[in-house]
Each structure stands twice: as structure tokens, then as C-alpha cells.
């Protein structure tokens, strides 16, 4: 396995993809609706409940409206990229933590020079009704990866445990390329295109949207519509479309939250509504696809 010398952001993506493809993962595309984290991708959230083996890797753009800083913070963004790896079942031939450490070596984090540690972190997603046990992986004190063994998804105990490895791409890139400001990260070094060239303006404008301009009425109506549509699709046993709308509902809630109109009590209410939608989707998924003789997921 040749170690890459990463020179820009796109190199980092290529390096990670090539490494995990080499380990048997299927390279997937990001899911095409807004979501808060790669875990929401159906190939993670839903497939984790499928009894058939599955391994994939993909880049997932993620949106966290409350993290917006109008482009003024050197390292906090409301839109950023996660690199997701999902492997099920947990590999037995090679220990997955060792494989992960190999991936770090592969992208240029030399274990002879750095202090790499697995620090306890147990992960919960209230909206997905999901939980897992695992770690933050620290490199010289900085968190670069979230490493989780799923135990529960959509309120259902995972029959076969999947391991999810999530790399924070911007953070990793800033570390490897020794840049203190995300916007100065080279995205395409050869063509002299930086991260900021592509995203600075949209960060600023989306921050404005999320905090100041998004129409609250429309958002509230949209949430209701997504919820209703999801429920109706579940009744009609269309699990993938239903889940699609559940994710949309979740994103709308995130924007409402950034808009500052959600009280503590309402937050609990919204979260439980979304969790309810996701739970129903997951139960429906299990029912539809529990037959392991079925081809596909």
C-alpha cells in the first residue's frame, strides 16, 4: 500500500477512497438530500438493519445550521464533508482498529511521529433513535475520527453489529496540510483553487439564511408536510421514499433551530416526532427486507 503525500483536499478524498476500496468497500455516492451527518445516509441507517453483509465508503456533505459563522471562524462551518466508512459484520480476518490505523498511515499520519489514541466516546442520535459504543480517535490531542460500533438503530437492536468510521475531512486536511484556516486549504493545488474559493461565499450566505432569512412559516409548514408525507408513505409500504422524507423533516428542524424559534420544550417535541418517523421507517425496512434470500438491500 503506497502512502500518499496529500497535497490538497481532493487528494485526501482520493486517498481514503482508494484505501477502503482496497479493503473491500463499495464506493457509494453521497445521498442527495440535506442531512446532518453521514449516518443518516440510507446505506448506513437502513442497511445497518439488514442481515446481509455490507461494506461501503462515501463522502457525505453534512449540514449543521447552528454551526454557521458567516465565514468568520477559521474552523467552524455549517456545511462540511464527512468521509464515511460502514462495514458489516465487524471484520474477523483483520482487526478493524488496526485497519483504521493503516488508513492513517496511508494518508500520511506517521505513527512514529504522532500520539494516536482511542478515547472513550459513546454516541447517541436522538433523532435516529440510534446509539453505539466507540471512541473519538485523537491525533496529538485533536479529534480526527469518530469510531462507533452500532448497537441500536431506529429503536431496533442491531441483529448484526456494524462498525462506522467517520473522518472529519476539513479537520484532517487542515492538520495534514498545516493550515490554520479552512478557507485557505488547497482544494485543487495544481489549479490553485482553495476551499474558500468554492465555499466562502456560500458559507456566508447560508449562515444568513439559517440565522436571519429563512421563512419561519414556510419551514413550519414544510415540516408538517414532510411528516404527513412520510406517514402516508409508510402506510403504503414505500420505505425508501418514506425515509427520504424523514431526513428532510430532520433538516428542516435544524434550520428552525438555527432560526432561534424553538424553545426547550418544543425541541423535545420535534425530536420525538422525527424519531418516531425514523423508527417506523426502520421497522418497515426490517419487515420488507428481512428475507435474506432477497437479492439487494
Amino acid at each position: 500500500m503506497n502512502n500518499f503525500k496529500i497535497k490538497d483536499f481532493q487528494d485526501l478524498i482520493t486517498a481514503l477512497e482508494s484505501f477502503w476500496i482496497n479493503k473491500g468497500c463499495t464506493k457509494l455516492m453521497p445521498y442527495d438530500t440535506e442531512m446532518g451527518a453521514g449516518t443518516f445516509h440510507p446505506s448506513t441507517a437502513l442497511f445497518s438493519l439488514n442481515p446481509k453483509p455490507f461494506s461501503a465508503c462515501y463522502v457525505q456533505p453534512s449540514r449543521r445550521p447552528t454551526d454557521g459563522r458567516y465565514g468568520e471562524s477559521p474552523n467552524r462551518l455549517q456545511h462540511y464533508f464527512q468521509f464515511q466508512v460502514i462495514i458489516k459484520p465487524v471484520p474477523t480476518k483483520e482487526n478493524i482498529t488496526n485497519t483504521y490505523l493503516e488508513s492513517l498511515q496511508h494518508i500520511g499520519i506517521d505513527s512514529h511521529k504522532h500520539d494516536i489514541r482511542f478515547v472513550e466516546d459513546d454516541w447517541k442520535s436522538p433523532t435516529l433513535g440510534a446509539s453505539g459504543l466507540g471512541w473519538e480517535v485523537w491525533c496529538d490531542g485533536m479529534e480526527i475520527t469518530q469510531f462507533t460500533y452500532f448497537q441500536e438503530m431506529g429503536g431496533i437492536s442491531c441483529p448484526i453489529v456494524a462498525v462506522e468510521i467517520t473522518y472529519g475531512l476539513e479537520r484532517l486536511a487542515m492538520y495534514l496540510l498545516e493550515t490554520d484556516n479552512v478557507y485557505s486549504l488547497p482544494w485543487n493545488k495544481e489549479q490553485n483553487i482553495t476551499y474558500g474559493d468554492i465555499f466562502f461565499n456560500s458559507e456566508k450566505e447560508f449562515s444568513n439564511l439559517n440565522f436571519n432569512y429563512a421563512n419561519i412559516n414556510y419551514l413550519q409548514q414544510q415540516f408538517k408536510m414532510m411528516e404527513d408525507e412520510c406517514n402516508s408513505l409508510i402506510k403504503n409500504k414505500l420505505v425508501y421514499p418514506a425515509y427520504h422524507y424523514a431526513i428532510k423533516a430532520s433538516n428542516i428542524f435544524n434550520i428552525l433551530d438555527a432560526r432561534g424559534v424553538i424553545s426547550a420544550v418544543e425541541r423535545e417535541l420535534y425530536i420525538s416526532k422525527i424519531r418516531n418517523l425514523v423508527k417506523q421507517c426502520c421497522s418497515l425496512y426490517v419487515e420488507n427486507y428481512k428475507n435474506t434470500n432477497l437479492q439487494g438491500y
Partner: protein
Amino acid sequence: MNNCLLLEILTEEIPYTLQAKAIEDIKQITELALQENLINFDLVNVFATSRRITIIVQNIYEFTQPTTIEKKGPKANIDNNILNAFLQQNNITKDNLIVKEGYYFIHINSPALEIKNIIANIIQNNILSKVKFKKSMHWNSSKVYWARPIVNLLCILEINSVANIINLTYANVQSSNYTFGHRFLGAKNNPIPINSVNNYFIKLKENFVILDQNERKEIIIKQANNIAYKYNASLLNNWVLNEVVFLNEYPVVLESSIPQKYLQLPKELIITIMANNQRYLNIIDNNNNLLPNYIIVANNLTTDNAAEIIKGNNKVLTARLEDGLFFYNQDITYYKNTSLETITNNLQKITYFEDLGTYYDKVTRILSLLNQFKQNNLLNLDNLKLLLNNTKSPTSITEYYSVIEEIIKFCKVDLLSNVVKEIPELQGIMGEYYYNILHKNTKQEAVSSLYKNSIKEHYKPQGPNDQIPLAPVGQIVSLLDKLDTLEQLFNKGKMPTGSQDPYALRRAALGVIRILLEGNFVNKVQNLFNIDIKFNNLTNNTQLQEFFTERFKNYIVDELKISKDIINSKYNFISTYGIHTTFGFFAVFANNTQQASVIECFSLIDRLKNLVKSSNNSVMFNKINNIENIELNINYNNLQTSQEQYIIKVLQNTNITFAQINECIKKIFEIKLITEDVNLTTMRLAILVKLNYLLHIILKEDSNAYYNNYYTKKIATNN
């Protein structure tokens, strides 16, 4: 070389709290498993790093203990049919039977077994499967739960210098004849073959694994102290140290420094950020000031002498502290430019509790409680004046109350601050800093000792090992705050049940009681409060009154280690003298040499009470009930018995001891109290009542003395 059993369970990194508990549990589970299976041994030791737990059983016997079990059978003269059935049932012949005490007995001999043949099963079924973690996970088709996935099992049984690799399986992991060293040093991820117990220890050491947690801790402390000594300072001893011992297999202690820019931040903020987010160790000087030098405990020896590690950690620390500085500056700007009134009004934005309104409402209620305390004389005005006089300050009582009001208005304000929203555990601490910034030159220094740290400390005591607030104002605010919480939640029916106390109401009530008991000794004011022992002037809620009483009694049990029964039996009698004396009284009780005589004394008092009651002479009783009239009833010339003479002599002393009163009471019961001579009877009953009265006084004085003694000692040892 002694016989030895070694079992190593290699896993992925297990969280510190789970691993620390597992070490204790596994030791006990192993000892029990061996005992249950009749295997003798000398000692079980358990070592652990984040990635492995190793059990060493020293001097394990090669064989189990042979046993004979006796099974009782039918009567010796039983019918042959029944006997044959019995023999068949137990698969034996008549030769296996013995006769004893008229019955047949079977002796079932269990021979000694070679443990080599049974140890695998014992480990699988009696040890590994008995281990329970507070939080655990499953990860493969075995569905076994462990804290983190098990990677390797290694089991060696050394008998008579021969090392046997034991085969066993758990969680789909087949045991091996190798182990793994450090993840990054030595053999790294390559298996290290192990052929004996000695070899195991040597190979681990060679491969940068320090197995013994105590050894790792010593290394860290020693190296960290060496760094601290360079600056004439010492290591801050907090929870981080114990956790850091389990965040590595080979501790490498590194020194770095906090960028100058952030040293202006409150030290608690810096330390909390560094500990919670990064597990760094801090250094403090003799005056508890934070030094800029800090310690990183890494898990790797690098080729560049840790240059990259230190550089990376500094970057992360800078980012974290920059965040902290950003929030802190926002807060300071806000507090400097906003009036106290506006700041307090903003408390309307935070909900206190469902149905109980906002924190603004809570503060309003606490202010009104202060007012009630003033009006109902629950704050001892004279002692408060004394307090002010002692500070040689011209501050009046009215001004003093206004200080208390201001502290109350400000004590919850930091809940709105950016720092506390990020780091909730800093509430109170940040409030104190922000308050001092607001009021830099507006309060007289002389009085400041009366309210210093009140905001920071009004949450205290936060546990049995925590102190009560030091300053009188702190004690007042703390008590009022807790009282409000208790009253509001009790009124809503949210009192604790059994083991459920989600709102920590027991702790709150105990805090109130401790302030009442200990306050005198830390603020040097006798009785800041005039709270009745029934707590009925503290609150109107009868359930809450009872709750306070229960907590008080339980506190006495815990503090003095005497039984609840004794407390319940004497409580009503002594509680008429108030909270302090009551506590002191039970302290007398706990002092064993006094205990017997105090108990005896009480039983005599009970007889005495019954006697006075049964005298049925209410006129006489009423006459002598009035203590001033007692002297008139004693006719010194009519002392007929030696007992009366003895007693009167004692009563003429000025310093009567407890022992003497005890003796007098015994003597008075030796003579006939109720006689035909009315005057004689009256006199004798009068003596009895006087003795009772004096006993109460002495008990009270003794109790107060014990109370003073107890807390003086306690405060001294705490400092």
C-alpha cells in the same frame, strides 16, 4: 518457580471507569470461581492497561481438593425392596453403604482432579461469563457482551515449572499462544509468541507495555513532579491523573506551556477546559496559582523527540482556549455594560422547572424568603450585629441586608453567560468572577470577608465530603436557595421516594442541616439562624418538616455511628433544647465511656416521671413543678435517711457533675418517696424534681460542650 495461572484478555481500548471497576470485579469473580471449584491458591492479582486485563493466580494447586459428600439414605432396618430401589437410584451396591445412627449413608468420594483438565471450563463459565460492565456491547455472532471487542485470549497454566498453554474459547475468540505488545512501539501489530509466565512479563516489557497500573501511575507522578519541581510548584491532583493512567500502555510525560494570551482567564476555566477536553495535567504553586506549564501524557516514543506531538497538542489547546476566551470576553463586555437590574430581569429567559416558572421567579421567591426570615426573626439580629462589629466596619444592619439581597439577585445570573452555557459545571465560579468585575470598588474591604465567595459557594455543600459555604452571606443564600427548591418541589408533590431522588432533595435538605450545625464554626458567629428543631418556623409544609427531621436523624447516624433506634428513643426528650444541643447529646452518647451511664440515667428519669405522675397529688405536683419553689420545700432538719443527706450535700455544691447526679438519682429511688407524712413526701418529690432539673442542665451543658468539641475538631482536620 511457583505454580501459576495466567489469563490475559486483550481487547480494544476500554474506557477508564469501566476498566477500573473491572479490575476489582474480576479479582473477586476469579477468587470465587476458584473457591467454588475447590482449587486452592495463594493470591489473585489483576493488572490492566486500556487494552488488556491480566489475571495472575499465584501458587495455584495442581489438583483440586478431594471431597467426600455424605448422602443420607433410608432407615437401616428398611424393607429390602425400598433398599434396592435406593441402591439402583444412586447406581451403587450395598458395599458402598455405611450405617450410622440407624440410617444408611452413602459416601460419595470426589477425587482430586488435575486442574489442567478443568481450568478452561472454569474460566469460560465461572469467570469470563460472570464479568458485567456498566455499559457493554456485542459485536459478533456469539452475542457475548463486553466493554469493547475482545481481540485475543492467552492462558498459561504453569505446574512444576512446565508451562501449559490452555485452549479455551470465548466470544468466538479462540485462545492463542501469543500476545500483542504496544500498538506503535516494539513488535507493534505483530504477534509475540509466549511460552511461559516469566516470558510473558519479559516480552511485554520489551515491547513497551507497562502492565501494572500502579507502576504506570508512579512513573507519571514521578516525571510530572520532576517537571513541577523545576518551577518550585506541584502537580494539581485531580481526577485526570487516575484516568490518564489508563489512556496509555507506555506513559510518556511531556512538558508544554499555555500561550501567554490565555493566562488572563480565570484559572478554573482554564483547568476545566484542559482537563475535560484534553486530559492535560496542570501545575500549581504554593499559593494555588496556576502556572503556564502543563503536562501531556502521551502513549508513544517518537523519532523526533515528541516535537510533533507537542506542536499538535499546543494547536488544539490554543483552539480550545481561544473559544473559552471568546466566550469569556463576550460575558465581561456584557456585564460591564449592563445594569444589575437588566441582568437580573434576563433571568426570565431561563426556565427553572416545569410549572415553577423561570429563574427570575426563583430569585424573587428567595428574596421574599429573606424578608420572611427578617420579619420572623429567623436570622439572629444580635449576632449579626456582633458580626459587623467584629469587622470594625461602620456598615449597618440595613446595608448588610442589602448586600445579601444583591448577592441573591446575582447568584444565578451566570447561568445566562456564554461560558456557563458551554461549561455548566462552572456555574457559581464564573458568577463570582463576574460579580467582582461589576463591583470592583463599591464595597468596603472590611465587610468583604462576610460575603466573599458567596456566589461561588452558595451551591455548597455538594456532597458529604464538601464544605459548607465559609462566609455568613454564603450560608444564608445557600440555605434560602435550598429551602426554596425544597418547598417548591414538595408543594408539587415531587418528594423523593425510596431510591429515587432525581432532584437531589435529600442533599439539599442535608445542606440546610449542615449549615445550621456547622455554620457557627466556620464563620465564627454563634447561631446565625433561629431555626426550631421541628423546622416548623422554617416551613409550613408538614411533610417537609418531617423530611428535615428525618435527614437530621440520618445525619446523626452517619456522623456519629450510632443506631437510629437509640436516636428515636431519646430524640423527643433532648430535642427540646434545639438542634445544636441535640447533636451534642448524641455525641455524648457516641462517646462510649459516657454511654452506659447516660442510658442508665434515662431509664431512671423514665421511672421518675412515672412516679411523679402516679403520685396523683396534683396540688403537690403543681407546687413542686415550679422550680423556684423547690428550695422552700426542703427542710434541712428533716433529713431522716443517709440517702437524703447525701443528696442534699451534693446539691449544695456549685459544680455538680453528671456522675454525681446519676448517683443521687439512684439513691433517691432507694428510699420510700410516697409516705403518709405529706410534708415529707412533698420534700422528697421536690428533691426528685430538682435532680431532674439539674440533670437536664448538665446534660445540656455537656451536650453543648460535645457539640463545640466535635465541630472544632472536624473543621480543624478539614483545613
